[in-house]
Subunit: 192 residues, 2 copies
DNA sequence: CCTACCGATCGGTAGG
DNA sequence: CCTACCGATCGGTAGG
């Protein structure tokens, strides 16, 4: 039973890597199986069909939870420092690991987002150190509900990264540096 | 010659609709052709291969330019009013027409973003009424470069929409209303 | 877990 | 612009 479980995990990991690189329909069961060290037919010992594999991968790898987990390791003495570090750290992470968002894009385009509610239901709520820290620093922050702050923070990061993609590298100069974007966000969030 | 051109446009429009709904590999030449009223083989009178169709569609429909075009129709007496209207209008538009971003997601995942530089080069620069208006209202705005402001604005809208997708409808209550997000942005941008 | 195979569909070509 | 067709590959099944 434990050997079956580990094989299943290998299939999921292999499928994840294929899906984020080539999309759902672009990833064949034969390729997924090969990377997991088995033949395509053997996948059906673990999953009823291809879509069930995607479902399992997406629920496990919904990027919101990877993001909250990264945020948990961010340090900072003041709210400004904590938020600055959070933005820099996450932007770094998402840029060096673009697959994190790719899986979500595949879900939105090829699955019409139909697995999102289930993924949220299964994974929620994460016990977040980061959110706890923000609560402790509330006195430094304008009167904004913490969830709105978190949402705005993650939004700022997306804004950074997606805009970079939008206009492509090499066209960035005229659009301002990331730190300028962070400043706008901090000015909206912090007191004084 | 003009009849050939219009047929080519029909193919592009048909391909666009397929790509935003099913991705690149999920859209077959037969289906694209059928929706354009011809047979698959006839597509090759207009394009050398499938990827050339995608290239042409993406360059024509890069969402940044659709977004700037929508912004051009936004009105407002004060900077606050203009920016508020811009955010509401664009959020509306992107939510009722989600395909606008889908094409970009397909490019990022299945094409590894390789057509983005060409799309920007071909379409730039758009003469933007909206950016002109912002310049005229500069006295109401903090000392922020206008491109940074535009970028931050578009980012706020993405943040709204993508976060909605991330957490799925039905889970929105605890994460704050869109207008609260807009407030954070405006507080970071406007004077006083 | 495998080999062997199914019908369906794919992108693309030949030839008119 | 079409019909007819190519080899390759797809998701999935039979049977062991």
């Amino acid at each position: 039973m434990s050997s079956e479980d580990s094989r299943k995990k290998e299939i999921l990991e292999s499928a994840y890597l294929m899906f984020i690189e080539r999309g759902y329909r672009g990833s064949s069961l034969r390729d997924i199986a090969e990377q997991a060290g088995i033949k395509a037919a053997s996948i059906y010992n673990h999953f009823a069909n291809k879509e069930e594999i995607f479902e399992a991968v997406f629920i496990e790898k919904h990027p919101l939870f990877a993001i909250l987990s990264i945020l948990d390791s961010v340090q900072g003495e003041t709210a400004e420092e904590l938020l600055n570090n959070a933005i820099n750290r996450l932007t770094e992470e998402l840029q060096s690991n673009p697959g994190l968002l790719n899986l979500f894009f595949v879900e939105v385009v090829e699955m019409e987002g139909k697995h999102i509610p289930q993924a949220i239901k299964t994974n929620f709520p994460p016990d977040s150190n980061f959110i706890r820290k923000i609560f402790e620093m509330k006195s430094e922050i304008r009167d904004i509900p913490v969830p709105v702050l978190i949402r705005s923070l993650i939004g700022t990061i997306f804004a950074n990264i997606m805009f970079n993609w939008f206009i492509g590298e090499g066209n960035l100069k005229r659009w301002g540096k990331p730190s300028e974007l962070t400043d706008v966000f901090l000015r909206g969030i912090l007191k004084t």
